[in-house]
Amino acid sequence: MENTINLTLKVWRQNGSKAKGRFETYKVNQISTDNSFLEMLDILNEQLINENKVPVAFDHDCREGICGMCSLYINGRPHGPDDDVTTCQLHMRKFKDGQTITIEPWRSAAFPVIHDLIVDRRAFDKIIAAGGYVSVSTGGVPDANSIAISKVDADEAMDSASCIGCGACVAACKNGSAMLFVSAKVSHLAMLPQGRVEGARRAKAMVAKMDELGFGNCTNTGACEVECPKNISLSNIARLNREFLSAKLQD
């Protein structure tokens, strides 16, 4: 037996980056609780198109929780009321019949709104371009056991690497800081021998770019860690601090 719910949606609408935004209220009925949140928005958009209205613009791509494209600040939390999932993996069973859902874009000076619920997250790409890669020649494929890496380090590097760059950390941060993202990207390379080689240069370049793009200063509130759909740990930030400070001391 399928459960269905009726909802009131308060959606942020904004015609372009310069335009003044406002909330619009819509009703959607007979939404299956098995639907994902984005499917519910698809249904809303079908409804709007049928009424000859402009559909709501929102970011999405893989809808499997791995691309980091979906965003949305839902009822006071980035990626909505469920823990450790992206918006695309959020299901309507997390909502009650008759509930009002407020849907907003990420709010941060470094993430300006482009249209409706879509924000410009290219700042993250610029930070990666500043140093979030390995450029040393690593040669052909080496034997898997030729470089020994402890299980602990390998696991931690993998955990850090699971950051999908969605920007929920910035959206949740009262300081608009990107430290959780940058620290994850610095950490997953710093913990492995191939990435270690450029560790100092990477930390300095990525932090400099992060500052330049106008992200805030981390005060270790930990809101980012709570809202991260990939459970990126706050300990990455301590590692970035150490990487950056020791790189600066070497200068």
Binding site: Y73, A172, K174, V207, F215, T219, A238, N241
Partner: protein
């Protein structure tokens, strides 16, 4: 080292190091304050133990050197907190969330460090006016006659600082104000202490949870200590 202090992490480092330095000062301060309660326990009377402590702090050449450093520590911590907060407000942007902020499990103190800091600074101004300026002779007060007290085996003579503290803590509103200041300090430190180690780069998954516990202990010792001493002075002395 070039442009370390213009980087966000460099500025945070200044906050962290100056904060830890101020915590060190608070421990010294608390030890001196405890002389108020330990007077009888240590076999002294009429605040002689405290007077000896004040005399030591007032005449020790080391303290003369540390005093300006302490003032500098306060200045750096306050000025950089304002700079960082201003930058963070700018980074956050003017548009707030209509649906509010419902992230659970975030320390209350960590999100209100500036407010707590302002409360502490306001308290500090009154505190300096109450005692420091008087003991240093910047403000006239009814000092009374000089008193004698044992001092490292000999006997020394100095102002009766105990009487000043004792008289001040007879006034209930002042005692309440001191308690409010101490509680604000406790909350400020509960976040500030562990956070400063995180900023320095102490990255350790085993020790960070312990540091958070130690942070609460430090907050309770300092905030609670100052509260208990002020309250005890009012109630029992």
């Amino acid at each position: 080292m070039s442009n370390l202090l213009t980087a966000s992490i460099g500025r945070k480092l200044l906050m962290s190091v100056s904060g830890l330095f101020l915590i060190l000062f608070l421990f010294v301060h608390l030890i001196l304050n405890s002389f108020l309660l330990l007077d009888g326990v240590m076999g002294f009377q009429e605040g002689q133990f405290f007077n000896a402590g004040v005399h030591f702090m007032g005449t020790n050449p080391l303290i003369k050197v540390i005093e300006p450093m302490l003032a500098l520590g306060f200045l750096i911590h306050i000025i950089y907190s304002l700079i960082l907060t201003f930058q963070n407000m700018k980074a956050r942007g003017s548009q707030s969330y209509a649906s509010g902020k419902k992230t659970s499990g975030v320390e209350w103190a960590s999100e209100n460090m500036l407010v707590l800091g302002i409360a502490i600074v306001s308290f500090l101004a009154i505190h300096i006016f109450n005692f420091y300026m008087k003991m240093k002779g910047h403000i006239e007060w009814e000092a009374g006659p000089l008193v004698k007290f044992p001092f490292f085996g000999t006997e020394a003579e100095g102002e009766n600082a105990y009487a000043l503290v004792h008289e001040t803590f007879k006034i209930l509103p002042i005692v309440l104000l001191y308690i409010v200041g101490s509680v604000a300090l406790a909350f400020h430190l509960a976040h500030g202490f562990w956070s400063s180690f995180q900023t320095i780069g102490w990255n350790n998954t085993k020790w960070m949870p312990r540091m958070r516990v130690i942070s609460n202990v430090v907050a309770i010792i300092l905030g609670g200590g100052f509260t208990v001493i002020a309250a005890a002075q009012y109630l029992f002395f």
